[in-house]
Amino acid sequence: MKVDMIMVRFGEYTIKGRNRGHFEKRIVEQVRRMLRPFVALQITRAFGRIYITLNGESYELISAKLKHIFGIMSFSPVRKCASELETIRETALEVMAALPRKPSTFKVTMRRVDKSFPHDSQEMNHLVGGHVLRAMPDLKVNVKQPEVELRIEIQPEGTYVFSEVVPAAGGFPYGTNGKAVLLLSGGIDSPVAGYLAMRKGLELEAIHFHSFPFTSEQAKQKVITLAQMLAEMNGVPFKLHMVSFTEIQTSFTQCNQDHLIITLMRRAMLRIAERLAERSGAIGIVTGDSLGQVASQTLPSMNVIGRTVELPLLRPLITTDKNDIIRMAEQIGTYETSILPFEDCCTLFIPKSPSTNPNLNVVRKVESFVPRLDEMIEEAIAQTETLVITPGESPETAKAGKDDWF
């Protein structure tokens, strides 16, 4: 089916009375940004909707982009035809035939805006519906709960026909819910947490802790690749703060409190993250924690770890099962990269039996005995290296070797 136009519907925020205009403006901006490469498009905003006129651009490529824009709930490919009964009937059949799955029930919803059209809505319902039923004998009408709604709008400039509703990412438009930092480890969970946070309209900057030479160059590349994927999701430059954690981490191994190493590490990371967040104007810390998944993610551990900072800790995955997290990672395309076998600092120096129920007072006491802990944290913050990942920019591998070799 040749698609002439796409009708885009917004997400949940359209119910929010006073902010609605603001949200809608942001989503239109975001759609324009993500579809910038398609120069022939015409994007118009209507009440609670966006209409994208394709002017010959590829529906397949554009719909692939639209599916992933936060703040879009769903969209429909629309055929435009002349406002003549026979043409409308044929177009309606085409639209029904192009559905990805054959429905067993449908109904026709007619809007006649152009009152000069000779048949009224009631008549048109029968004229078009009857035609479709004759051509598709297995189909039945169900007005209350149709599987598919065949919608026809007769406008002065022509008639719009559509039925397929393609679900999209949902959520809020980019940046409409403030700014936070994301702890990006390189594992499966944190990119998914980042995705979910961004889908809720958060603007993010990522923080990665590395322990070179205990962690490898490949592990760092892997995180850059993941950050690139997150940058592509919103199509805006994305900051990645690389923090050297080697000194702090190795000093914790000298405390003779091996079962607390993870707790100590996570607390130090949060302290650094909070400072970096404040420096960037971010007011939340997003993590990939999932309740009970590992020793540091039990409720007692999270209690002790979280108390070291004042900023709200956002844990989008907190009650999500691992299998579901993996499925999401596959859907957003980060899974393959996340499972590359390069050790990150969270899995380094893991004791045989880490504490699942650390005692806050003991932990504070141990921290007070770590020589130069505050200075080391200051140094780590000062030496943080910030990379700005540009969307659409070729990943690190695309710069390998000399250009004229390729």
């Binding site: 490898s216 070729s394 591998t397 695309a398 390998a400 070797g401 004229d404 070799w405 390729f406």
Partner: protein, 391 residues
């Protein structure tokens, strides 16, 4: 010397050779090694994959580097049938496939698979309806070459792919070794699940093949080993040749349109010449007005003709004395003294099938070269005529 054997192998491009030399000298480290040298080599490998993926309009994870076209065909057919053998045991291919496909199916038919070898018409083309008619509940794979390597006939890949779209279980493999860089290829649009290509047919080095495996399709690897290429193709990667191949593929695909238009012109000229020599008979369709469109029936770079009553070696050797290099049937099987299986399948009879000559062009050829070849063909045929053996 005029090298008219591009279907067998192409002269590597100079810039491809330079890339290969430079990468080979500098990036000898094993891409699996942890040190910086290995990391750099690994990045070159991934950049090569990205270049290939972009040239074909697909995603990077869908491409595996192999040792060549033969391995790609084997890995696709054996790998997929092994992986999905519990879904069905019936396979469909054609009578004109390259031995790396044909003989692979022969082997599978000894291992409990039932194989249908579809016939072709006199122009060397299989009919999409025949593929549809051959499908059974038990069918798990259809393998059809894009361009036949002996006569150059184009198979209706888009049409077959569209028809197979309704049969989710059936995997569609296409041997594109002779079509890459010559014809438009739309892997996604045509519903292709597995696709093979070879670097040395497009000005790249020997020893590198491509295997496209559509996202979601899984293969059993042919080889066991160190898990390279996502485990699909273990063995230390040939980084220098792969980088050079990526360049060759990119250039072949980017410049395809202009180059194939030129080659269509050469083909038309040679076909006209052969038509004017009564002793020679063209195999496959002549030329059609649609040749530049998607519905072309013959590839632009191949002309196959027979000299009935003359052993093809005699013609090949006489042409070689005149500085012209051509082939009998496909290079792989040209040493066997048997009629061409492809020409037989086209129903051309034993005499014509035993005397086929293949001329295949490349970018270095111009009209003057074709005219020279034409002049020599006239001379050689006149000289050999007294020795014709008519049955």
């Amino acid at each position: 010397m005029l090298y008219f054997d591009h279907c067998a192998s192409t002269p590597p491009r100079e810039d491809v050779i330079r890339t290969m030399m430079e990468v080979m000298a500098k990036h000898y480290a094993n891409p699996s090694s942890l040190h910086q040298g290995g990391v750099e080599a690994g990045k070159l490998l991934e950049r090569s994959r990205a270049v290939v993926a972009a040239a074909f309009g697909t995603s990077q994870a869908e491409w595996t580097f192999t040792s060549g076209g033969t391995e790609s065909n084997n890995a696709a057919i054996i790998g997929a049938t092994a992986r999905y053998r519990n879904k069905g045991k019936h396979l469909i291919t054609t009578q004109i496939e390259h031995p790396s496909v044909y003989d692979t199916f022969r082997r599978l038919s000894n291992e409990g698979f039932r194989v249908t070898y579809l016939p072709v018409n006199e122009q060397g083309t299989v009919a999409a309806q025949d593929v549809a008619a051959a499908l059974t509940e038990d069918t798990v794979m259809v393998s059809v070459m894009h361009v036949n390597n002996e006569v150059g006939s184009i198979q209706p890949i888009a049409e077959i792919g569209a028809m197979l779209n309704k049969h989710r279980k059936v995997l569609f493999h296409v041997d594109g070794i002779q079509s890459v860089g010559k014809l438009p290829i739309a892997l996604r649009e045509w519903g292709i699940d597995l696709f093979s290509a070879s670097a040395h047919k497009v000005g790249g080095p020997r020893g590198v093949g491509l295997l496209y495996t559509r996202h979601g399709v899984q293969l059993e690897p042919l080889l066991a080993g160190g898990g390279q290429e996502q485990g699909l193709r273990p063995g230390t990667e040939n980084v220098a040749a792969i980088v050079a191949s990526a360049k060759a593929f990119r250039l072949a695909l980017e410049t395809r349109e202009a180059r194939s238009a030129r080659m269509f012109g050469l083909r038309r000229r040679l076909v006209r010449c052969i038509g004017e020599i009564p002793e020679l008979v063209l195999n496959g369709a002549a030329v059609s007005d649609e040749e530049l469109s998607m519905t072309a029936v013959m590839a632009p770079h191949i002309v196959n003709f027979s000299y009935p009553g003359m052993k093809p070696e005699v013609l090949i050797h006489t042409l070689e004395e005149n500085g012209i290099l051509a082939s009998t049937k496909s290079a792989c099987s040209s040493k066997e003294d048997k009629p061409s299986q492809v020409l037989l399948a086209m129903g051309l009879g034993k005499e014509r099938a035993s005397s086929g000559i293949r001329i295949s062009f490349g970018d270095e050829h111009g009209e003057a070269d074709v005219d020279y070849l034409c002049g020599k063909l006239n001379e050689v045929v006149a000289r050999l005529k007294p020795f014709e053996r008519k049955e």
